[in-house]
């Protein structure tokens, strides 16, 4: 297929105007994160005191913020073009890594920071939330993103009540 062929559509020009599954996934991850956060903060408070709790909360905020920015980048750029999506994600990876590094570097000497619970929280919450989210991911063409919730069938209820 050649570029001068009228049937030819470059991948650089293609985009996706459909619903963004990343936004739904990240909303679900943030929901799960708000459930997990008190547990992680409590464990850090037990091990490292109040500073540990603050550090853990900071780590969870970093992880959830990282997910949210990644999802926003993918969903926003996919509406423009796939090529931009790829570029934004690859450079976004470096950018987000740099932001996380800077966010930890700037607070590493703060009085309220304990590095061990902060680092443990970043790794555990990132990987743990992803594994938890995998249970709710739908791998079907009909429902991209999250699995649909089961609802009671009114037709079935009506037919049994009569």
């Amino acid at each position: 297929m050649k570029a001068d062929d009228p049937q030819y559509v470059s991948i650089l020009a293609m985009n996706d105007q459909g619903p963004a599954p990343e936004a739904a996934i990240v909303r679900d991850i943030i929901k799960h994160g708000s459930i997990v956060a008190p547990i992680l903060i409590g464990l850090s408070a037990v091990g490292w005191g109040v500073n540990g709790a603050w550090s853990s909360a900071y780590g969870i905020a970093l992880v959830l913020g990282n997910f949210a920015v990644a999802a926003w980048m993918v969903s926003y750029t996919a509406r423009i073009s796939y090529a931009l999506m790829m570029g934004a994600t690859l450079f976004g990876y470096i950018f987000r890594l740099a932001v996380i590094a800077a966010a930890v570097f700037f607070v590493r000497n703060a009085t309220w920071i304990e590095l061990v619970p902060l680092c443990m929280t970043i790794v555990i919450s990132h990987v743990g939330l992803l594994f938890w989210e995998m249970r709710y991911i739908s791998l079907s063409l009909a429902f991209p993103g999250l699995k649909p919730k089961h609802t009671a069938s009114p037709t079935f209820q009506d037919s049994t009540s009569n």
Partner: protein
């Protein structure tokens, strides 16, 4: 090449003036930085491969773009976890 030699000579001169403790801290900082850099290379390659294949899949079957993007996003997030683990190891080795 000449510039590299000059930098190496300058590094040796600086290292010779350091106390053993400072030299050890210097080496630890360099190794931690190198470890973090190496840890970021693998995920970078992995994310590139994931996106390349995902875009190929979306180009072949545009109707499956939603499903491909879902798995792609999770794959990228898992791959990023490797870089985060490298970063955490760097921070703990260097500062903790």
């Amino acid at each position: 090449m000449e510039a590299l030699t000059r930098i190496a000579h300058a590094s040796i001169r600086v290292a010779a003036e350091l106390t053993p403790a400072e030299a050890k801290a210097n080496a630890a900082a360099q190794m931690a930085g190198l470890a973090y850099g190496l840890a970021a290379i693998g995920p970078g390659i992995g994310i590139g491969m994931i996106f390349g294949k995902a875009i190929e899949a979306m180009a072949r079957q545009p109707e499956s773009a939603g499903m491909v993007r879902t798995t792609m996003f999770l794959g990228v997030a898992f791959t990023e976890a490797l870089a985060l683990i490298g970063f955490v190891a760097f921070i703990l080795l260097k500062f903790a």
